[in-house]
Symmetry: C2
DNA sequence: CATTTTAATGCAATTATGTTGCAAATATAA
DNA sequence: TTATATTTGCAACATAATTGCATTAAAATG
């Protein structure tokens, strides 16, 4: 693996965001994980490296620019994951299924699983679909056996 | 329409819950609405009729007994709706789609719209599916035209 | 009906999550 | 190097939710 930092710096510049320590740290943490990351976890890991408020603002800016997307877990807690493909400030393309493990509480982006189209009652205009599956992730299902 | 109160009292007894004023009031409010009801709204309507903590405990008890189900809206706020059919303390059967209007923020239980089955990656065990559609409800879509 | 038992409520305190305004700091453009 | 525009940190506030404990009230008992 080569230098992430250079890549992240480009990403920030491309989006008109200044290259600051808290922002690079958030990108570093998120990219090093295999599942979506909760705000509380980020806050804990970053400790006093950055103020709570700064973290919220970094996350908000990244979301607006299409760098990360937010997923609410079944408790309503905000979790964040780096957007996989062509998300931008103008629109997100993260209509994949999210899997919330009942055991380890991780949230996985199932990028390969698309949300099936839906018939809704007459008059309703669907804009976005948000599907969260709960159950046991592969790793936790293993351990149970 | 005949006397709701009698019906609610039976419901409470059936579930081993005492017939108390806050519980009856919550059932009264929820049943009189066409969409799911947020905790903040309930709190506001009930005012000083019941303590905040009591409201939380009433909602929790009802959810556990399968009397109501919780839906988190796109902001992560808890909303509650009376369960339509055979939900019980042992399991809920509310796998219908929920519709969250971007304009009026109401949450509709689309009881007739089932969530389509899903293929997930090997190893994952799906337990529940939770699909929230956002957009414009029939009433709001009308007004826009 | 009176009494006992058990469940539910109210209150106070605490924790978690998220927001806003503003002054100070700092990254970048000039 | 200086100017500027953005970003940060801090303090204060807002809202959602939980816990422990004493008090109250519902239902069961006799
Ligand atoms: Mn995702
Ligand atoms: Mn519902
Ligand atoms: Zn797991
Ligand atoms: Zn609407």
């Amino acid at each position: 693996m080569e230098d992430n930092t250079a890549r992240f710096e480009k990403l920030l510049v491309k989006n008109g965001l200044k290259r600051t320590a808290p922002r690079l740290q958030v990108l570093e943490i998120l990219s090093g994980r295999d599942s979506a990351t909760s705000q509380p976890y980020l806050e804990q890991v970053m400790g006093k490296d950055a103020d709570r408020v700064t973290l919220y603002r970094v996350l908000q800016a990244f979301e607006e620019k299409g760098i990360i997307h937010k997923v609410l877990d079944q408790q309503g807690t905000a979790n964040y994951a780096i957007c996989s493909d062509g998300c931008s400030a103008h629109e997100h393309h993260d209509e994949h299924v999210h899997f919330n493990c009942d055991n380890c509480h991780k949230i996985y982006c199932l990028d390969t699983v698309k949300i099936p189209a839906l018939k809704v009652p007459a008059g309703f205009k669907v804009n976005h679909l948000n599907l969260i599956a709960t159950g046991l992730c592969a790793s936790c299902a293993d351990k149970v056996n």
